[in-house]
Amino acid sequence: MAEAALPLRRQQTAEEILEPSPLSKLRKRIFKNYSFLIGAIILILILVVAVLAPVFEALGLIQDPYAQDLAKRLQNPFWHEKKVDPDHVFGTDKVGRDYLSRLVYGAQISLLIGFSTMIISGSIGTVLGVTAGYFGGRVDMVVNFIINTRLAMPVFLVAMAAVVAFGASLWVVILVLGLFLWDRFAVVMRSITMQARDLDYVKAARALGCSPPYIIVREIFPNVLSSLTVVATVEMANAILLEAALSFLGFGVQAPTPSWGLMLNEGREYMFFSPWLLALPGTCLFLLVLAINLFGDGLRDVTLERER
């Protein structure tokens, strides 16, 4: 009726003309987001270094991180005013292993721990959260209880106890952290799934009688993916820091694995006299976690529209 009464002569509005394509909009947002850019660049650099470590070794740029030489222990790094060994740019550790090589391979370990933990905890948390959010009611109550129980456990202490119980090794640490750090995944996934459940097309799918797994995977999961990624970065950073703290107290990865946390533990013995042994792995750890955090922060800003 209205259209017949007032035939529409529609021009494109200025807004429509000015509106850029979604892709270029995303690109613009990425490049305006410095934290995302900086984070991504550092992260990619560390990733490349970690992945290419064996190649670097083969090319002779770095050395075997396990090769020790007791006669050449605790060599000074290149900036030191005293005697410097040209073979070891960043000096050597307390059994004479090349510090640079260990730092480079340490990136592998930290990333491995971060990724593996994130995958384990992400799977647990997502399954719990999505189940709770989708089914609600009793299921939600039970999952909520599990989440609260987990939050009530002092992670660090229980992780230490678990490491004592099962013996310390890389995979025990990963498993323990993975089994503990799923809470944030579950909480976030639960609330997002709840919101997504009430979206019209999800309701429609339910009305059509689609099975819950189908709906969850096909209709809900795409909705939660961006939040999932953001939580994943936070938890990855968290896992790396926790591993470092565990290794620092001697309840983490075992020697001679070149883990930055363990290197901090070992380097600590020399913190007053050879501070670089502490400063170098500390800086690496700091940069990696910083990069992951910046990346995650930026990712949130880029994918989820800022409210302001």
Binding site: A2, A5, L6, P7, R9, R10, Q11, T13, A14, L18
Partner: protein, 339 residues
């Protein structure tokens, strides 16, 4: 000016920088309000009504800039007042009622607290007098058991009651002008009329000037002394209520009035928005009539329209390329189509 003019605004503009350029949501509005007079501003969402009211109160967002040729309140130029000086006017001399009663009250404090604090700030720091005034006004706005309501929290009240509280709050210091920005939009249809009538009655009783921004054309017809029709940040038609309603001249006005409630035929509370098409973007350099993309009578000349209003005898004015006669002709056509 013979009448006791409280607020006199000439060529008010608001600009807001956004990522795409400069947004011009209010582009040269002029009006005046006298004591005991009600000015109704009507228009679609996004036409700049709310920003106009915020601009008057000095409550624009930080990024927005306000300019005007004249902005006199109680004979005083308030264009360059400092925030502190504006704060001294707000609440006492000019009060405002907002669109969302559900969220406009602080959830953390009792309504008594929120009513009294404005009186204590501006008039008298004593508690007892403020409390008395609050009870008096709550009763005035039709809230029963006013004294006991004072200790209630906003969440314990219904939307209608909250808006009555907001009205009472606006009246606490006996303002000279009250600005009501779509005070009923968020409320139940049945309550909307009550609240508007209440406002109109109080305005008469306290002899305030009132600027009422509303969608409810029925209530406009009943309470307004003057009507201002806004489109895309500027006035397209203004004049005494009677004149505008009886003989709308701008195609947009007649579009709006197309669905004016005819007693017995149209339901009270009919919304606008049945004018097809969308409001244009107000970013960047704008020229010509902004309504041209939705106007049945649009021509090439519309693009070059300067924007000067065509004045008629009784203060009735409209802004269009058409002459008053052409416009009246077009309006009658629109009215027939509806019928």
């Amino acid at each position: 000016m013979s009448k006791d003019v409280i607020l006199d605004v000439r060529n008010l503009k608001v600009d807001i920088p956004v990522s795409a350029g400069m947004l011009h949501p209010v582009r040269g509005i002029s009006f005046s309000v006298a004591r005991g007079e009600t000015l109704c501003i009507v228009g679609e969402s996004g036409c700049g009504k709310s920003l106009t009211s915020l601009a008057l109160m000095g409550l624009l967002p930080k990024t927005a800039t306000r300019t005007a040729d004249k902005l006199d309140f109680l004979g005083q130029d308030i264009r360059d007042l400092k925030e502190r000086q504006m704060a001294a006017l707000r609440g006492v001399n000019m009060a405002m009622i907002f669109q969302e009663p559900m969220t406009s009250l602080n959830p953390a404090y009792t309504i008594g607290n929120q009513l009294i604090e404005v009186y204590r700030r501006h008039i008298d720091p004593g508690k007892a007098e403020a409390r008395e005034r609050a009870i008096f006004l709550l009763e005035k706005v039709g809230i029963s058991a006013a004294a006991s309501r004072l200790s209630q929290y906003p969440h314990q009240l219904s939307g209608g009651l909250r808006q009555r509280v907001m009205i009472a709050m606006a009246l606490m210091c006996g303002p000279d002008v009250i600005i009501a920005d779509e005070p009923t939009t968020a409320l139940d249809v049945t309550i909307q009329a009550q609240i508007l009538h209440l406002l109109a009655d109080l305005q008469k009783e306290f002899q305030m000037g009132m600027i009422l921004i509303t969608h409810d054309l029925g209530i406009v017809a009943r309470v307004a002394d003057k009507v201002q029709v806004m489109y895309a940040g500027s006035t397209v038609e203004e004049g005494p209520c009677q004149a505008v309603f009886d003989s709308p001249l701008h195609p947009y006005t007649s579009g709006l009035l197309r669905c004016i409630p005819v007693p017995g035929k149209t339901q009270r509370g009919s919304r606008l928005g049945s004018v097809p098409g969308i409001v244009p973007n107000l970013v960047g350099d704008l020229h010509g009539c902004m309504f041209r993309n939705r106007c049945d009578h649009a021509e090439a000349a519309c693009e070059a329209l300067a924007g000067d209003a065509t004045q008629l005898s009784d203060g009735h004015a409209f802004t269009c390329r058409m002459t008053p006669d052409e416009a009246a002709q077009a309006a009658r056509q629109t009215a027939r189509e509806v019928a």
